[in-house]
């Protein structure tokens, strides 16, 4: 999947997620200084994961930023830090501009924004700008995670299910 495709986001196949939380670790690692899971334990600042796995008695899901079209977090952001990327239409965050007012946290209906308390800035899914693929998707052992558009996701699901039969 080429990176700058429009409307790409991460989807979670709830039927496959087993709540192992590997995506959380992969995300935190990707957003650390060393990008190395062993070295990062020694880093001054513990990196923040931007995805969160949540289980209910019946199912589990890896919750990601939905890169909403008219994103409530962007409307709420009073500093202009939260913005839509023109090319990819992803919702991006400029940490230089962020003042840590948490208006975006209040506005996100998915609870997809994490507070970096130490630096007093918001942190969210940035679709891994430093790599060609997506850390969480690459790491998911059950292949529950998928990066692409809604159409891509539905198509892949169909194909997978056809194979099963």
């Amino acid at each position: 999947m080429p990176k700058k495709n429009k409307d790409v986001k991460i989807f979670c196949d709830i039927t496959k997620c087993v709540a192992c939380r590997t995506c959380e670790l992969a995300c935190a690692t990707e957003h650390s200084v060393s990008k190395d899971v062993y070295k990062l334990l020694k880093e001054d600042e513990q990196p923040k994961r931007r995805v969160r796995v949540s289980a209910t008695p019946n199912e589990s899901i890896s919750i990601h930023c939905q890169h909403c079209k008219d994103a409530p977090c962007v409307a709420a952001c009073m500093s202009g830090a939260m913005h839509k990327d023109e090319k990819s239409s992803a919702t991006m965050h400029d940490k230089e501009k962020c003042v840590g007012c948490w208006m975006c946290v209040m506005a996100c209906p998915f609870g997809a924004i994490v507070r970096d308390v130490k630096n007093r800035i918001a942190v969210k899914c940035d679709l891994c700008p430093d790599r060609d693929d997506y850390a969480c998707v690459a790491a998911c052992p059950t292949k529950a995670l998928f990066a692409g558009t809604e159409e891509d996701f539905k198509k892949t699901l169909k194909e997978k299910r056809a194979k099963k039969r």
């Binding site: 969160r52 199912e59 009073m78 209040m106 609870g111």
Partner: protein
């Protein structure tokens, strides 16, 4: 080709321009602001005073915003008269502009307290860059500052000056701070934090007069006691800038009355932001919800309608978030219900400064307060906004692990309410 004129170039006005341009790339857009400074966010002014950001940090839009959106911007010019019939706006520079569609987004102005000494040097209120610069220019000569009013902006002022090492005393008439935003339990937890960080809060007393010869020397309170201080900041709330509309014969109450499409009582004249009185979803009534996100959303909605893309306004509610010395707080909707039929769910752990409260009526969330643990504020918020019957999850609403996963089934079942792609896409495999 349509001609759009926007009055007020802040949250609502600029968001309106963006929405117009989503639809109409060619129409002529003229934006008029009586402020010289462009593209800055007034919410950030206390961060400037607190030396957390520089002047450049105030900008919430890129410098080339006007150019990129092909907008004719007139800053430092005031709109003085509106003729609804002729569809013209007269400006204070002698010129006039014509419009097909007009947006009035003139915002609000700080209220005065109406006490003696309000005109002394060293007395401020905070709304514009000019106000902030006034405050900053006197910071070095100030040892103690008195803040009159315990609302959000007053306390933000207090916080900023405290970060600058000033002694700060906040005078609040009511028996709690943040009385518009929080209940007493939550307010008391925040007050304790402020006190610990060196901000003194004096409650239940109003200021009687500001004393000084030419400049501020003290504030005298109702009970005769005095606060010696070199600066006074008044944070008594705002009143809407509605004269421009009122004089043109447009229907106003506490704000300019907007219909379902953010149009005023005059055809082709729209309104948005702090000045607008529009649908409030928690009460079903019209009111001013004077906060940034609402101004942006209303401006956006008005812009769509002005450009011919008929879009009803979903309605808004009061909402605010902030952080004092690392203590985050969120408040949405009705947090201090009056009248019957309300139910409150609360969790309180004063030691950890955790407080959560959900106000329900007929099992629909009407209000939310979250202190410290605010991560899922927006999940509660969307349940409130969509007026969802939460009975199936009522006993789990305040659990530590409550989050979006717990409402997945509701999202799927209520596709009528959660129609947007971002919601549907989370339940494809459910």
């Amino acid at each position: 080709m349509s001609e759009y004129v926007i009055i007020g170039a802040s949250a609502a006005g600029l968001s309106c321009c963006e929405a117009i341009r989503e639809k109409d790339k060619k129409g002529k857009i003229t934006i008029i602001s009586d402020e010289k400074e462009m593209l800055y966010s007034r919410c950030l002014l206390t961060y400037l005073i607190g030396d957390k950001i520089g002047r450049d940090g105030l900008k919430f839009k890129a410098d080339d915003f006007y150019k990129k959106h092909n907008i004719d911007a007139m800053h430092g010019v005031k709109a003085v008269m509106l003729d609804i019939k002729k569809k013209t706006v007269k400006l204070d520079n002698g010129k006039a502009v014509e419009f097909d569609k007009l947006l009035i987004a003139t915002g609000a102005t700080p209220k005065k307290v109406g006490i003696e000494g309000e005109g002394l040097k060293g007395v401020f209120s905070l709304r514009s860059i000019a106000d902030a610069e006034g405050i900053i220019s006197m910071v070095n000569d100030c040892d103690t500052a008195a803040i009159l009013g315990g609302g959000l902006i007053g306390l933000r002022d207090a916080y900023a000056l405290r970060l600058r090492g000033k002694k700060v005393k906040v005078v609040v008439k009511s028996s709690q701070i943040l009385s518009q935003m929080l209940d007493k339990d939550a307010a008391d937890i925040i007050e304790e934090k402020l006190t610990k960080e060196g901000i003194e809060v004096i409650k239940g007393l109003a200021a009687k007069k500001i004393k000084g010869k030419g400049k501020v020397a003290a504030v005298e309170l109702e009970d005769g006691s005095e606060i010696e201080c070199q600066m006074v900041i008044i944070g008594k709330g705002v009143s809407t800038n509605l004269n421009f509309a009122k004089e043109a014969g447009i229907k106003v109450e506490t704000g300019i009355v907007a219909d379902e499409y953010m149009q005023t009582s005059a055809k082709d004249v729209y309104t948005a932001g702090d000045v607008a009185e529009a649908l409030d979803i928690t009460t079903g009534l019209h009111r001013n919800n004077s906060v940034w996100p609402v101004a942006v959303e209303q401006g956006h909605c008005a812009g769509h309608n002005m450009a011919g893309n008929k879009t009803p306004y979903e309605g808004s509610c009061m909402m605010n978030a902030t952080d004092f010395f690392g203590l985050p707080v969120v408040s949405i909707g009705i947090t201090k219900p009056k009248g019957t039929g309300y139910e409150e769910l609360t969790v309180k752990n004063s030691k950890e400064k955790v407080y959560k409260k959900i106000v329900l009526k007929d099992n629909i969330i009407r209000g939310i307060i979250l202190l410290t643990e605010i991560a899922n504020a927006g999940v509660y918020g969307i349940l409130l906004k969509k007026r969802i019957d939460i009975s199936p999850i009522k006993d789990r609403l305040l659990d530590d692990n409550f989050d979006y996963a717990k409402i997945l089934h509701i999202v799927k079942e209520r596709a009528d309410k959660f129609g947007k792609a971002e919601f549907k896409e989370t339940t494809i495999t459910l």
